[in-house]
């Protein structure tokens, strides 16, 4: 099996789905000739032509509006918003149209579209280019919201998202686009949307995270094992909405202690929803307050201060030790 980066894995998913199903079309700013700002769509215009790999004007609302129209007429558009910080421009299209057309038309119409967009910090980007705002999408009924954590699940989840009959927001962590490689099989592979995954099994502490933050979370889990003898149960959410709380609730019923890690600002980040569900569904099992290790409630700073904002192994360890000692 070839070892590839997440960028290559996503490219593979798009290429294979476009080969398989000629209703699949990609569109966005620079996705064609330029191959995408992060090269996720590299080579697709050469292979599938300009009709299926469409360079659009810089108009996010137009890109999403057009995708909705295509989806309503039977195509399967995969649009790219160049940075998730630009998706404020298409909020209205997503929330007032894409998310509810099935519902408004009492099931007569569906919107099988995917909105791919890079999110998060860690690549020393500029203002508006490092945001992590998954909360917005998770608070909109009718949308699915997926955040993979590595090449293999990114590829499988993107294929599932393209085949899904409903709109899917697909966040790609910029910090892990090229940070590591994984074996990804040539043959078809999908993963169910709405299912989290246990990536490490342990009995002492549940750690819940997703996306680019899975890396520092797993590094911290390793240190906890080696230095503190703490066995962690690590859950990768993969889908933020609909949120699969079965696995992490079950895990906390076993461990009695939990920690959530995300880079979105703390207030109203997905951590709040996760903690609430634990309070609702595992309250009598909890032996300590659930900790949240998150970005701060500030605009994510420019690159010189970025590392002070993002959760890192050190902060996760400190929180984990506090949870274990209370």
């Amino acid at each position: 099996m070839p070892k590839v980066t997440m960028v290559q894995a996503l490219n593979m998913a798009l290429r294979q789905e476009m080969e398989k199903d000629d209703r699949v079309i990609i569109l966005g700013e620079d996705v064609g000739l330029d191959g995408g700002v992060f090269r996720v769509t590299d080579g697709l215009v050469q292979e599938f032509g300009e009709d299926r790999s469409v360079d659009t004007p810089l108009a996010e609302s137009g890109i999403v509006g057009m995708s909705i129209g295509m989806a309503l007429y039977g195509l399967r558009p995969v649009c790219e918003i160049q940075f998730s910080g630009f998706s404020y421009h298409n909020f209205h299209q997503i929330e007032n149209h894409a998310a509810r057309l099935r519902w408004r038309s009492q099931g007569r119409f569906q919107v099988p579209m995917v909105l791919r967009t890079p999110y998060g910090g860690g690549v020393r980007a500029l203002e508006h280019h490092s945001e992590s705002r998954e909360t917005f999408w998770s608070h909109i009924p009718g949308l699915k919201m997926v955040i993979p954590s590595g090449p293999r699940n990114a590829r499988a989840l993107l294929v599932s998202a393209i085949r899904d009959p409903d709109p899917v927001i697909f966040y790609e962590g910029k910090a892990i686009y090229r940070a590591f490689r994984e074996e990804v099989p040539e043959e078809e592979e999908t993963m169910p949307i709405g299912q989290s995954q246990r990536v490490k099994e342990g009995k002492d502490l549940t750690m819940i995270s997703y996306g680019a933050m899975m890396r520092p979370t797993l590094q911290a889990a390793e240190t906890l094992q080696e230095k503190d003898g703490i066995e962690t149960d690590v859950i990768d959410l993969l889908t933020i909405s609909p949120m699969d709380d079965t696995l992490f609730v079950e895990s906390v019923q076993k461990t009695g202690r939990a920690l959530v890690v995300h880079e979105a600002p703390r207030t109203l980040g997905p951590g709040a929803e996760i903690v609430s569900r634990l309070v609702e569904k595992a309250f009598y099992y909890l032996e300590a307050p659930v900790a949240r290790v998150t970005g701060f409630d500030i605009i994510i700073p420019l690159f010189s201060r970025e590392n002070a904002y993002l959760p890192n192994v050190h902060r996760i360890l400190r929180a984990a030790r506090k949870v274990m000692s209370s």
Partner: protein
């Protein structure tokens, strides 16, 4: 004290601030000659004229963009977005521009801007005119989010918002506009942003709510009293900055909490409140924190359906009994 309607309290606050400070002006769709879709800016146009009460085109991004520009140039705009649902069209202006400008300029620029809007389920306004979207705005660092439940709070908080040097999202509720209550006439009457209010004291359970759900919670609390349950109703009034101290004081007293909001549950502000209680008062809790919220669905048009998806006093009572 004389009693006036919620919407009259809003226009009184605007009028007083416009008289006090010539840099304050109002803009939005139909706010001028028509007096606002809910008449919250009634008669302002007649008294202050078209240069200070601006009827704008139907273009939310442009309304907020123009308000931001005028705030940067030294004015104090109060822009109305007719329904909170339409803030999604202005989201880049709100989240990427208004909220960040102060930070991006290293503090050189101030943005004394108020966006007045209203949300919530009304009478068959359907999916795009009925939402409660406070969670979006409360998740954006740099914005303040205010949601008053009474006429007096509406007036005092709107005046404080206009005098605040930061962008404030001021969310009214369409079903509160006709509610009446005592409102002070004092020109300098204000309620500080960031202070919750205990609307009813009780020992047995804390009900945390905001906007119209405070009214429903108070009704539920009255019924519960007949059954011997004393509920304390905490009206957050401001979601950001949040008055955690008042919440924790109440939780430590009652040890049981129900959070009520009209917005859908997943990703709603109740999740944040529950998480904060968990972090700061875990050892005081005697039961899980209960969330009574709207269902995770768009708001339907038909009356039996929309009534079936948002909380009412009965749901709140059930929520309280579940954790007692």
């Amino acid at each position: 004290m004389r009693e006036i309607k919620y919407r009259e309290a809003i226009s009184e606050a605007l009028r007083e601030e416009m008289i006090r400070d010539k840099t304050v002006f109002v803009m939005g769709e139909d706010v001028g000659q028509f007096g606002g879709v809910f008449q919250a800016t009634a008669t302002l146009y007649k008294d202050f004229g078209a240069s200070r009460v601006l009827d704008t085109p139907i273009s939310e991004a442009a309304i907020v963009g123009a308000a931001l520009g005028s705030a940067l140039a030294g004015l104090r705009p109060v822009a109305e977005i007719m329904f909170v649902d339409f803030t999604s069209i202005a989201m880049d202006q709100i989240a990427n521009q208004c909220a960040k400008f102060h930070f991006m300029t290293g503090g050189q620029a101030i943005i004394p801007l108020v966006i007045r809007t209203q949300g919530g389920v009304g009478i068959g306004d359907a999916a795009q005119h009925s939402q409660s979207l406070e969670a979006w705005h409360a998740h954006i660092p740099g914005l303040k989010v205010v949601m008053p439940s009474t006429p007096a709070d509406a007036k005092g908080l709107l005046k404080a918002s206009i005098r605040d040097d930061n962008p404030v999202i001021f969310i009214e509720h369409k079903m509160l506009y006709l509610n009446e209550g005592p409102v002070p006439e004092d020109d300098d009457y204000m309620i500080p942003i960031g202070k919750a209010d205990i609307k009813r004291e009780g020992e047995d359970v804390t009900i945390i709510a905001w906007s119209k759900m405070v009214v429903d919670s108070l009704e539920a609390a009255d019924d519960l009293e007949k059954e011997g349950i004393q509920a304390e109703v905490v009206d957050l009034r401001t979601l950001n900055p949040l008055d955690l101290e008042t919440i924790l004081t109440s939780v430590k007293k009652t040890s049981r909490v129900v959070i009520v909001h009209e917005a859908c549950k997943t990703g709603g502000f109740g999740g944040e409140v529950a998480a904060l209680i968990m972090e700061n008062a875990f050892d005081y809790l005697d039961a899980p924190v209960e969330r009574v919220t709207g269902l995770d669905t768009p708001i339907p048009y038909a009356e039996p359906l929309y009534r079936a998806v948002i909380p009412n006093p009965d749901w709140i009572k059930k929520g309280v009994k579940k954790i007692l």
